[in-house]
């Protein structure tokens, strides 16, 4: 079923990538009569940057929501580290090591950048409501420990200068970066990025690409991203899934995808018969 053999995949820059973190097997997702995803299978390997691309309405976002566990497909199964993943409530996704960003930025506008990033650590903080209220012992220690991790991420993404700024005052590109910081703060085993470059200018796109690559190489975070800007994806990702009309039409390295006739047709347009 997998068209890439597991465990010995070597990227274009010579890194070898681990075993499958997540496997999608014959996923079919329907909304009433509309088939959003039809019999899709692919895997995400530990430590890789996996892109899902496709024209508008191809089902990319639905796919992302299946990966995150937000949608439960009618058919097919999702394997996480080789075993079947249980159905989760939306808020439990984060505890299962999946963090995400949104296409239309979903930040806490009323809070400072620092507080926003700190919310990413909420699942890591175990102290109860009463110790939090008296603010002693475990609560205090936890806050300090988590603060350290957060400051490291803030440094890494070069947003130190705006730490105390309310998010609502930031320009679009920086907001996207804060959202990335919040997702990273959870130290996820899988980071989902929903159109991380949408609405950015060229300079912002280059910055974002650099940060995504740095995150992947520095922290070894597995990243799955959706994007419809082909050029960005080709530079960024180790392997690409191409979707069109809810079906998978291509899967492989960027080079393979570039030469895939079905993909070229989907993007340049041919008559569908």
């Amino acid at each position: 079923m997998n068209n890439v053999s597991q465990g010995d995949f070597v990227t274009s820059d010579g890194r070898s990538i681990g075993s499958a973190l997540m496997e999608m097997q014959n996923i079919t997702l329907k909304f009433g009569g509309v088939v959003a995803l039809e019999n899709i299978s692919f895997d995400i390997l530990e430590g890789e940057v996996r892109a899902i691309i496709g024209p508008n309405g191809a089902g990319k976002s639905s796919m992302l929501n299946v990966i995150s566990g937000f949608y439960v497909p009618q058919e097919g199964q999702v394997l996480y580290r080789g075993s079947l993943r249980p159905t989760m409530k939306p808020f439990q996704v984060a505890t299962h090591g999946i963090a995400r960003t949104f296409q239309n930025i979903a930040l806490f506008e009323g809070m400072s950048v620092l507080d926003n990033v700190m919310t990413g650590r909420i699942t890591k903080m175990k102290s109860g409501i009463f110790s939090q209220m008296i603010w002693k012992g475990r609560a205090e220690r936890e806050e300090n420990e988590n603060r350290e991790v957060v400051e490291k991420i803030i440094d890494f993404l070069e947003i130190q200068a705006i730490r105390k700024t309310p998010v609502s005052r930031l320009p679009y590109g920086l907001k996207k970066r804060v959202e990335l910081a919040r997702a990273l703060a959870a130290e996820p085993s899988l980071l989902l990025l929903d159109e991380p470059m949408a609405g950015m200018n060229v300079e912002e796109k280059e910055d974002m690409s650099r940060f995504i690559l740095d995150v992947n190489s520095e922290f070894g975070t597995t990243i799955a991203l959706i994007e419809h800007d082909m050029s960005v994806v080709m530079d960024l990702s180790d392997r690409v899934v191409v979707m069109d009309y809810g079906k998978k039409i291509g899967d492989g390295t960027p080079d393979e995808i570039r030469n895939n006739q079905a993909v070229i047709d989907a993007y340049l347009g041919v008559s569908h018969d």
């Binding site: 808020f91 507080d115 909420i122 102290s127 409501i129 939090q132 603010w135 609560a139």
Partner: protein
């Protein structure tokens, strides 16, 4: 200073104290509205219910005594204990937390993503239901609530002002106590929301549900938490109002006074609820004192609403509310 000015000052001070009570009720509204977008019409009834429960527990009344007696032909009314106020308050707080959980579990969990008007209607239903349950549980007679709050004129202030101005101000000890209580309550709430994990989660939910879910915050838990806090605020309001004028069912009508306070202060602002309450309190007392005699008095009944109406026309978001910007 002329007597009239001094008297006006006294009226103003008393207005401030009355305003504190409005603020307390408005605070409960703001908390729930911010976190869940629900305009909780039942906040006033929650204050009533909390006060009834407090008296009931404190005086050892048996809940549903009338009902039990009617069904089983028994004649029981009291457990025969009198608990210290402090203990009774803790038990009542626990009851309010239970109430919050029930509301979340049986009403609002089933209404996620519904229109605001539907949520509002649900709270109206809740208000009448809770009023009925309160009646059934504790009886409908007016009860005296005595939790040891000092009452009566504060003599120190009277003496001080008399020596200074030759006119002694009448300020009720209860009002002074209520003001301190409100200040402490607000400080605790602000500290909680700014410096604790749960507070941060609460603000997160208030800002963006989707994003809150994505970082692993359970909306259900936060809503129970916020209804519990609102229940606790209602308890404080109920204690103060109950101590002032007895626990009676007209207490639930203070919710209506909180409406103009919210329109003034903005529905989403905690400082707004406080300042709004104070402005309404002072405004209605001063208006009654200065303009009242000219137009036949009884202005306190409508002054707040007219003020709110003016605000709706000229500054619909209130003094501190979020600016309403609509992109076209």
């Amino acid at each position: 200073m002329p007597d009239k000015v001094l008297f006006a000052m006294e009226v103003m001070l008393n207005g401030l104290m009355a305003g504190v009570l409005y603020s307390l009720v408005a605070l409960g509204f703001v908390l729930i509205f911010k976190a869940s977008g629900i305009f909780n019409y039942a906040q006033g009834v929650m204050a009533l219910f909390a006060a009834l429960t407090l008296v009931g527990i404190k005086d050892g009344q048996i809940p549903f005594a009338h009902l039990i007696n009617a069904i089983f032909g028994t004649n029981i009314h009291h457990f025969g204990w009198h608990l210290p106020a402090f203990v009774a308050i803790i038990f009542t707080a626990i009851v309010m937390i239970g109430f919050a959980w029930l509301v979340q579990r049986f009403i609002f969990r089933h209404l996620v993503n519904q229109e605001p008007i539907i949520l509002f209607m649900a709270t109206i239903g809740l208000a009448y239901f809770l009023e009925g349950v309160g009646d059934l549980m504790w009886g409908s007679d007016i009860k005296k609530l005595d939790v040891g709050i000092p009452k009566g004129m504060n003599e120190t202030i009277e003496l001080l002002t008399y020596n200074r101005f030759g006119y002694g101000f009448f300020i009720d000890n209860l009002d002074i106590f209520a003001s301190f209580l409100a200040v402490i309550l607000v400080l605790v709430l602000v500290g909680f929301s700014q410096y604790t994990k749960q507070g941060r989660a609460l603000r997160a939910v208030a800002d963006d549900h989707q994003a809150a879910l994505s970082v692993g915050i359970s909306l259900g838990y936060i809503w129970v938490l916020v209804w519990s806090i609102a229940g606790f605020v209602a308890l404080v309001a109920g204690i103060v109002w109950g101590a002032k004028s007895g626990v009676q069912f007209s207490l639930s009508l203070i919710a209506l006074k909180a409406l103009p306070v919210l329109m003034l202060g903005g529905f989403t602002s905690i400082p707004g609820a406080i300042v709004g309450g104070l402005i309404i309190g002072v405004g209605e007392k001063l208006f009654e004192f200065l303009v009242g005699p000219m137009i036949g008095g009884a202005t306190e009944n409508w002054f707040a609403y007219v003020l709110a109406l003016l605000f709706l026309v000229f500054r619909p978001q209130g003094l501190f509310g979020e600016r309403i910007i609509e992109r076209v």
